[in-house]
């Protein structure tokens, strides 16, 4: 259908622009801030034109934070590394556990199957603060406090349900007959899973992995309570910029830019891959 009257097109353009401004403005503003000194940022009225400085980035990368109250050591790059380690490890573990589980939920009807699947999803409903106190007590008892393994484990609460539910949907979209055909051709169910189901659900698995990576990356509270300084991810590490002598807006902005960039690049790269290749050879319906 073509609703292409001139007024309609103009209205649509304006509406799109408004939405774009609403969502993009904070990001652009942060980017601009990251190239300004604290004084420039706090100027009233703010100016669009300024002399850019790389001081904020230098400070982050070198780990030397100069404030009015004196020099401060920060470990931002280490935090970034931690974020990366924790998120990747969590996603890999969640994929190893979640993809076979998703397959089982998609293909087999077993007693309590729906209940178990829903229980796993319901972990996402509970506010993390609710479980934090008991969790940290358990972790102290178990000696998991302040270990990478402990954090990766608790991140499964975030990643596993997501992967399970997204990938399950993709498995359900694959006609079981395709796997049946492969088995009748003389292959075991294990081969049917690895050679047929997993490759065909590939885009879905990638999407679920990417999403859970981003969610893990953005997590704050679990790491805040369960990790000490040297295991902290960037989200917690950013607190270091709230210093005794004030808040270092410039560095915060630069830190945000640095921590957003990897996930953004990942998403942009994967987007192309996600869109491609969902069309199956089978006739639908």
């Amino acid at each position: 259908m073509d609703h292409s009257s001139l007024a309609g097109r103009i209205f649509r353009g304006i509406a799109l622009a408004m939405v774009l401004v609403f969502f993009m403005f904070p990001i652009v503003w942060i980017l601009l801030m990251s190239f300004q000194t604290n004084e420039q940022i706090l100027r009233i009225p703010p100016r669009i034109l300024f002399e850019p400085t790389l001081a904020n980035y230098e400070a982050l990368i070198s780990g030397q934070l100069r404030t009015a109250a004196g020099n401060l050591q920060i470990s931002f790059m280490r935090n970034l590394m931690n974020s990366f380690l924790l998120s990747s490890a969590s996603v890999i573990l969640a994929l190893l556990l979640g993809v076979p589980a998703a397959y089982a939920f998609a293909r087999f009807k077993f007693r309590l199957g729906e209940t178990i699947a829903f229980t796993l999803l319901s972990f996402r409903f509970a506010p993390p603060l609710l479980v934090l106190l008991p969790l940290s007590l358990y972790y102290q008892q178990l000696g998991l406090n302040d270990t990478y393994f402990g954090i990766v484990w608790v991140y499964q609460l975030i990643a596993l349900p997501l992967i399970l539910w997204i990938v399950r949907g993709y498995f359900e979209d694959i006609s079981p007959d395709i796997e049946h055909a492969y088995r009748l051709a003389g292959h075991s169910w294990r081969e049917a899973f690895t050679r047929i189901a997993v490759p065909l659900a590939g885009p879905g698995i990638a999407a679920a992995g990417l999403l859970s990576f981003i969610f893990c990356w953005n997590n704050f509270v679990f790491a805040l309570i369960l990790a000490s300084a040297d295991k902290q991810p960037v989200t917690v590490g950013a607190l270091a910029f709230v210093t005794a002598s004030g808040i270092q807006y410039g560095q915060i902005a630069a830190a945000i830019v640095l921590s957003v960039t990897p996930t953004l690049l990942l998403a942009l790269y994967a987007q192309r891959y996600l869109v491609e290749g969902l069309s199956l050879g089978a006739v639908k319906g």
Binding site: S175, P176, I178, L184, L280
Partner: protein, 367 residues
């Protein structure tokens, strides 16, 4: 080569019974069509043989050996699916070769080439399924099912999703193709013409029960019940409720108030209370003049079909019959008053309560 035997197979899904005591033998090299209305359990039956469902009771044997406990990959079965079920991420060549690879066969490339030549898909072997037309997909799926020389071939309505012209072509090609492999072949279809064209024998499945297993012409001429008679024939058989009366050695019945002579059946000594009388539209003769004993009717509409003229006739009591004839033989036009007759031996009688056919009137044999 091995024969396929089903022995009293039962299968329920919850309260729904899909197979009730199904027993059937398919000889090697034989094609048996499993035919029935949708939801009659045809596909479930095939899937039990393929190993996707387990029968609740009964046994399935290939070459005298029970396969019920074997996983699908060890049953020696080739199967073609209604939705083709090709592997979307593999080329047509790899799709066809997938079965040979698993068994470590030699000469895979030569075998794939030979099979694809037989099915006329050599030129698309390098294509992925989504680049194939429906006809090519279906041929690829058939090649994949046939290539391993399976002992049992299962074909689950393989022509359902291809267009009419291709379906017709395949209908001519399939029997010889299947016979080459000398497998015991079960062919599921919802189209009675396809079943008659392709199969050596037809197994009619209604509500999970095999109602009749016989050669196509036998089923068409002597259906076991009203339900079977209604399934075979397009347009389908005319049915009227009658109470035949035996009088002075003659059997007569009233249709829409007109006394009609029926074939006297020796095996039928007493007259039944109520029966269904069935006459195939091809056996109905429509004339403009009443030559005696004909039923008056009005032509409601003429609907040409399969190179024949099909007349919808309405009797005085409001009941309707169809008549089919060559367009040249058509005498009457729409909305005309006509007279309807049929040869006594063309009428089939069915018990009203059970639906089973009464006696065996010798049906006129076509030349």
């Amino acid at each position: 080569m091995a024969r396929l035997e089903l022995k009293a197979v039962d299968k329920c899904f919850g309260a729904v019974s899909c197979a009730k005591g199904v027993s059937l033998t398919v000889e090697p090299g034989e094609i048996v069509a499993v035919f029935g209305p949708s939801g009659s359990g045809k596909t479930v039956l095939l899937r039990m043989i393929a190993g996707m469902f387990e029968p609740d009771d009964g046994d399935i044997l290939v070459g005298g050996r029970s396969i019920v406990d074997a996983p699908p990959e060890q049953r020696g079965i080739g199967m073609a699916f209604q939705n083709f079920a090709l592997f979307p991420h593999m080329s047509a060549r790899d799709n066809i070769a997938s079965g040979l690879r698993a068994t470590g066969a030699s000469d895979i490339a030569a075998k794939v080439t030979a099979m694809s030549r037989l099915l006329k898909i050599e030129h698309v072997l390098g294509h992925r399924p989504r680049e194939l037309s429906n006809g090519q997909k279906q041929r690829t799926a058939l090649a994949r099912a046939l290539i391993g020389n399976p002992e049992v071939l299962l074909l689950d309505d393989p022509l359902r999703n291809v267009d009419a012209k291709l379906r017709y072509e395949m209908r001519l090609e399939l029997p010889s193709l299947l016979r080459r492999s000398s497998a015991a072949a079960l062919y599921v279809t919802q189209d009675y013409r396809e079943a008659m064209a392709i199969a050596d024998r037809i197994a009619v499945l209604i509500n999970g029960r095999l109602v009749q297993v016989a050669r196509p012409e036998e089923i068409y001429a002597r259906p076991a019940s009203v339900a079977v008679a209604r399934l075979f024939g397009d347009p389908s058989i005319n049915l009227s409720e009658v109470s035949p009366v035996a009088d002075q050695g003659r059997l007569t019945a009233a249709i829409a108030g007109t006394e009609i002579m029926l074939d006297r059946n020796e095996r039928e000594t007493s007259t039944r209370q109520r029966c269904w009388l069935g006459v195939r539209p091809d056996d109905v003769v429509v004339t403009r003049q009443n030559s005696g004993g004909a039923i008056p009717a009005r032509v409601v509409a003429i609907t040409p079909m399969h190179e024949r003229a099909v007349l919808l006739l309405r009797f005085a009591d409001g009941s309707e019959w169809l008549a089919a004839m060559a367009p040249e033989a058509l005498e009457a036009g729409a909305d005309e008053e006509v007279f309807v007759q049929f040869a006594p031996e063309a009428a089939l009688l069915f018990d009203h309560a059970s639906g089973e056919r009464i006696g065996l009137p010798p049906r006129r044999q076509a030349a």
